[in-house]
Symmetry: D3
Amino acid sequence: VSASVVDRRSLEYLDRVASELYSSVLSDILDDLGHRQQVIRPEVRAVYPGARLAGRAATMLSVAVSELPAEPYKLLMELLDSIEPGEVVVAAVQGSTQAAVWGELLSTHTRARGGRGVVIDGLTRDAWGIAEMKFPVFATGVSPADSKGRLEVIAIRQPILVGGVAVTPGDLALADEDGVVVVPQAIEEEVINRAFEKVAGENTIRDILARGASIKQVFEEHGIL
Amino acid sequence: VSASVVDRRSLEYLDRVASELYSSVLSDILDDLGHRQQVIRPEVRAVYPGARLAGRAATMLSVAVSELPAEPYKLLMELLDSIEPGEVVVAAVQGSTQAAVWGELLSTHTRARGGRGVVIDGLTRDAWGIAEMKFPVFATGVSPADSKGRLEVIAIRQPILVGGVAVTPGDLALADEDGVVVVPQAIEEEVINRAFEKVAGENTIRDILARGASIKQVFEEHGIL
Amino acid sequence: VSASVVDRRSLEYLDRVASELYSSVLSDILDDLGHRQQVIRPEVRAVYPGARLAGRAATMLSVAVSELPAEPYKLLMELLDSIEPGEVVVAAVQGSTQAAVWGELLSTHTRARGGRGVVIDGLTRDAWGIAEMKFPVFATGVSPADSKGRLEVIAIRQPILVGGVAVTPGDLALADEDGVVVVPQAIEEEVINRAFEKVAGENTIRDILARGASIKQVFEEHGIL
Amino acid sequence: VSASVVDRRSLEYLDRVASELYSSVLSDILDDLGHRQQVIRPEVRAVYPGARLAGRAATMLSVAVSELPAEPYKLLMELLDSIEPGEVVVAAVQGSTQAAVWGELLSTHTRARGGRGVVIDGLTRDAWGIAEMKFPVFATGVSPADSKGRLEVIAIRQPILVGGVAVTPGDLALADEDGVVVVPQAIEEEVINRAFEKVAGENTIRDILARGASIKQVFEEHGIL
Amino acid sequence: VSASVVDRRSLEYLDRVASELYSSVLSDILDDLGHRQQVIRPEVRAVYPGARLAGRAATMLSVAVSELPAEPYKLLMELLDSIEPGEVVVAAVQGSTQAAVWGELLSTHTRARGGRGVVIDGLTRDAWGIAEMKFPVFATGVSPADSKGRLEVIAIRQPILVGGVAVTPGDLALADEDGVVVVPQAIEEEVINRAFEKVAGENTIRDILARGASIKQVFEEHGIL
Amino acid sequence: VSASVVDRRSLEYLDRVASELYSSVLSDILDDLGHRQQVIRPEVRAVYPGARLAGRAATMLSVAVSELPAEPYKLLMELLDSIEPGEVVVAAVQGSTQAAVWGELLSTHTRARGGRGVVIDGLTRDAWGIAEMKFPVFATGVSPADSKGRLEVIAIRQPILVGGVAVTPGDLALADEDGVVVVPQAIEEEVINRAFEKVAGENTIRDILARGASIKQVFEEHGIL
């Protein structure tokens, strides 16, 4: 069954993408199509070994602040209470390491609402709890310091720039141990279809190379490396 | 049994802090009390998964050198031979990555003397041995290069600045997978008592959120996020 | 049996070095001999826990490019098809984080040819597959982005500078969880012989320290720390 | 005439502060009063030699964007058309070096409205024109790239964090070749009065030291260094 | 006289570009045409105040080395002896700060051959001599250390990546106190013609703004800021 | 008159070195003699254009602190009151940018005692006053923030590591617009003599190249570039 017969709005589709595809094959296809800025900077990594996710971006943008806002967490909570099944929270903090913008309680809530995970170009906390509940969080690091009075969400569900990549709400994010790739919606169908094909090809080549073949010959014959 | 009835000078007290509290809850309480600079910079992380410690800071300060000192390791050994049960070695190297200031042999010695672990704003070595003996070391990274002729301890058991935090000998350090928090002695009793209370509250909220509650309502009712 | 009676060109010799020695002891011996710039910068780390390798450097040098070369991967494939048993690919990308220069397929090929692993002062990809096949790769990080049109190999089997260390083809590289050490061939025999001796001494000292001995006395008597 | 008899809301007052005081003396007084986080990070420097300013902060906050907003420059223009005589534009871009948020045309407009200069924790452009018109701009560097579609102002006349310092609209900013100091309004009168006194003291000491006096004696007698 | 009637291969054309246009106006036009990656990173700056140049890129690529090459300076000298009037040496060292790749003697030679200046994403030396002879060099900084045995040129007159920008031999480089812009040859005519028009428009607007006009009205009427 | 007939302990000798030699020629000679780590990292630069100095290193080492020491400035003042004519203060702060360790009053005192200038791998303040009195200070930048309670001198007149270079008290430091070079005393005579010779050679070559000679021929004939 090719991916194109699966409803791209379904959760089954996201499940297949998460379990059968991976970030490097998506990046290769995006490169081939001329979209060469779709990989989030490599400092954004899986918080625990084996974390992986696929879902639609629910974006939020935070800025550094120096005092408690009038209504702390206001937009953050608004976003989280609106999470739909299949969504992934994608958070831009512009590289700030002042505080963690995510943690175990938010993970618990987001999972309960059907959210698939989180991508942050900054820090999370509760790394242990997050690993234990296997909720896939991708971040540049961890810190015990809370965001309250340090970082405040100022926009939700808007186009943002995360780790060097432009993300529009609804874009497909796929993250695994190699990092995070964002697929723009306009080319998603083509990218995903090609990716399923390329995965099959790579499996063949892996077997050939494992038997000691010349890498030059393999590349000339199959065009994959 | 509240923490305040436990003798804060006892090892049992440190055991309870290490096993029941965690760095993020201490950071939150310190924030509430207006002590907002008590989290060591996030590059200082657990050397192996699951490392955690609580103990009293035994401080040392190193500087970069370019030649072998007359008596190598002199103050380092003086500090280590004076380690008391319940202490944690807290080492400032001012971010230098020239060499590792810690390793497996020092860990073996420190554990034999009752030391609880190590916090360094620099590198350690023997990561494999340290992980195997489960001696909690927190550092910015690892390197095979020894400190001899590269970094030399120039002061011990003095107030120092470690990863952006002022540490006075005897301060309580708690470190886990999220990072390292330092609790000044003058407010330790209040911080620890409040922390035990907050942990209980967080457990309640986690259960509520796991059932799909609105995060806005939960925050309004419990004031915790 | 001392190491000097083993043929240094044999694979058995490399096996012994990989299983019985470690990076920190080699670094100490090199320091003692006045070779104090042989440790690759600490950002180059094991891609999965427990990775370790010993082998002879097969070097390659990449530079950042902005367009697809006429013959992509040309020199990379030439190097890989020439890998001899016991060799380690040592790749200089001069710290670039634009793309990954290594991955699972190249690992599969290199292992099939008898290669022992890879050291890169840049990124790899397919971290999961590499961990699963236990092929020791040491890198500064991971990224899904392929090197094609981003980094191109421009020289192979030449002297290069990798993470601050001069590496000549055929030099012995040893890497483990502490990092990567390079042993110049001219002093290899002396370094390795001394290292086997020092490992024995460290085991003795570890036992003494574990029983609570004074670290000052131990250092005065044995001269090791 | 002491500064306290001058109306702090007058332009004459700002003129005296700009011509008779300097950033280091303000920083010292703020230190003495326990306000030790009032110096903007040292990367923010005068764009041309001799630039100096004193004025009241008119703040703006920009974030990195990846596409042209519906109404480019909207809030930026709103702030600039509201500039009052004696104000200084203080712009937070959170360290972004993607583009310049200031230039010669904005300088021309701001000077025409009575603005005293600009402080940015990011880049400006038109460095030559700015130097020629002697409009004091303090920035981390320069770039020809415009902010359009790269950085967008999202808040004006709000409290912001600029180069590590909390700035509230109306705070007094003083900048010269040493850098930028921000004086909170609540303590401004005391800071400025003390600063005028200290400047007089420093002039005396400079004369004494120029004659070859012992610096230890001078410090013991005058308490200034 | 519009620029398009001037022979783009003539030196007069380069003189006009250098004296009448500037980097920010070229960057704006390139942005408008969708070429948004043509500004070299802002660390590359004029070595002395007032430096400016326009010319055709003669590219060279250096890599870090650790020993003296067999024929030091070989390709560097080959490039310099082939410099044609109107050319600018554009040197990629991939950000290395190990050594200076340029200096006063090379400047003297290049000027004698009709070269217009130098752009390096690394260091130069002889800053004083270069400033005195007013030979426009743009670099990230200075160092007394020579490139011999530290950096070696490995390719000349090839496409390279300099400070984040793809540069093809013959591309037009314009540099001034704001930084360096590279204009691809395929669009050069359109960019330069539009730039001459925009410069005229900016002069008009500067006069209007200097008289205190609303910046919002000016932008609405003229579309320039 | 060759330098070797001048008394190296005399001030006249330092005057000649400062006025006739420069940092790049010293660096070249040191390279030739195999001393390739004698250039302080390039971030340490002249505070005002044209600054240059030659003198003997009077070293001090500072560390970051978090509270006011019992006797602020104690060792700093001890060093400054002991400055001899011809000495240069060489200060290691290990790259800290928390505060300025130098300023105009210290410059005034040091000049009065015959000191020749200052080299810091950190910040100074009073940049304007220092430029006006033409006292050569080399630093990584400027800040209004004083060192009191931020950085404290902990050792004076000891061997230190400054910007990557080992400096022993009495070593010859020469600094100009290209940066700072340190000449170890044991090889000083040879270095200085060779440098005077090389300067003469460079003047000849400059004239030849200015007339348009082939750089390859000049290098082959004279061996200088």
